[in-house]
Symmetry: C2
Subunit: 236 residues, 2 copies
């Protein structure tokens, strides 16, 4: 496998073609952004930590029967993945109220959401990733009904697997964002799962161990990500 | 039937109890508000026009098999309705892109939405009526799944009836908002259907004939409402 040209450089990762048209290299950079890119910083070692974190979690999901794009680790900051035709929607599940939900609906941070909520956001930085629903997705052609149903089913299945994984490490999976794409017509989990795209709290103290440390300037961002990794059985 | 005490005074209507606990008087005032109450004006004759418009449309919907709260006209500005236990959600169907959809999703005003979209908004002035979804409704206890499904079904059924009614009068039903409540356990259409809560354009010229005339300061607000009424066969 040979890495070829840069296809796209996003806010945190860069994507390269390879000599195999079905495969891509995902390079995890140290760039860290928040508030639709308004806050931007380089955090030492973040690319490495998220690359390995993602590899570990994607493997767990794959073992649980969830189709993912992850193929293998290539280096400290690079992974080989299936090249997907990305669906421009973010799927968010929330077990506990936090973040934009708290602001939008005026509810208290930390209340349990029973049943967990599912939300769709349009991946569009200029529009500030607006919340949308399945009717918008169909009317604007962002995703077909059958694919949306699959995305929802898989997003909730991820919840069962990961709530348990993090609970075993003494943590609460508050919420998370997934992105899906199509590979030969099948819905496959793409992008990344890392503390950059979810909220994880210590189950006892409710200390934040995720990107909210960066958003809220709490410090020890990457150290917390590594701590989360160690608690679920990883070594860096 | 005897009108008793004021139960609630909203932005455009007042609600009175009667000697029958199952019935209420809905009084349509001339008050007209927009932008979550930030723009407020008294528009001469609006209470009368909306009261009669609503009576006419609710009767058409009832004939089409949609359960509504409307019982009968009591006076120029008052109607007798069933007292519902209101569900705090607004159901919006859009046939054509306009208003907040255009702003939120950056699409062009006037494009056809195929299939039409369905949206839910939390009825909460302080929060600016945020968009929500069915998961929020269930997790926060605003509506049960069975009732939500019924609300959606009825909202789309209203679309079939009213698209045709307005098309016959040379108009395009761009979008509309409905509110539902429970009456003895059944989902029933409540509140009002009038040009205050929908968008209607002349089918040829696309001239706005609804509350956007007030929002956008185009003038002839109530005159346009009456024109719409006449075009669908009403006399005031
Ligand atoms: N397997 C994949 N195939 C194709 N594109 C992918 C895949 N996984 C992730 N992507 C896309 O690559 C980009 C990842 O880089 P990121 O820095 O997260 O970008 P963004 O700023 O757009 O979120 C995203 O646009 C994501 O949708
Ligand atoms: N049949 C009904 N039973 C009980 N409440 C109703 C019924 N129809 C409408 N309502 C409620 O009465 C109020 C109508 O007044 P309005 O001026 O539109 O108020 P608002 O400013 O809250 O929208 C709304 O809160 C609406 O939900
Ligand atoms: Mg991203
Ligand atoms: Mg109202």
């Amino acid at each position: 496998m040979e890495k070829r040209e840069l296809l796209y450089s996003g806010k945190a990762k860069s994507v390269y073609t390879t000599d195999d048209n079905d495969l891509m290299v995902l390079q995890f950079r140290n760039d860290t952004s928040a508030f639709d890119g308004k806050k931007m910083e380089q955090l030492d070692r973040k690319g490495l930590v998220n690359n390995k974190f993602n590899a570990f979690v994607m493997s767990k999901l794959s073992e649980a029967g969830i189709p993912t794009h992850f193929e293998k680790l290539l280096s400290d900051t690079e992974s080989l993945v299936k090249r997907l035709d990305m669906i421009p929607l973010e799927c968010v599940v929330r077990n506990v109220a936090a973040g934009s939900l708290v602001r939008r609906l005026g509810v208290e941070e930390g209340i349990d959401l029973v049943p967990p909520t599912f939300e769709l956001f349009l991946k569009n930085d200029e529009l500030g990733d607006p919340m949308v629903n399945e009717y918008h997705a169909r009317s604007f052609g962002w995703a077909e009904e059958e694919h949306l149903n699959k995305m929802k089913e898989l997003t909730f299945k991820v919840n069962e697997v990961l709530k348990q994984l993090f609970a075993d490490g003494g943590m609460l999976l508050v919420d998370y964002k997934l992105e899906f794409g199509l590979f030969k017509g099948e819905v496959v989990l793409g992008d990344e799962f890392s503390p950059d795209g979810c909220r994880l709290w210590d189950a006892e103290t409710r200390e934040k161990l995720d990107k909210d440390r960066f958003r809220q300037g709490l410090g020890n961002v990457v150290e917390s990500y590594e701590e989360v990794g160690r608690r679920i059985g990883m070594t860096f």
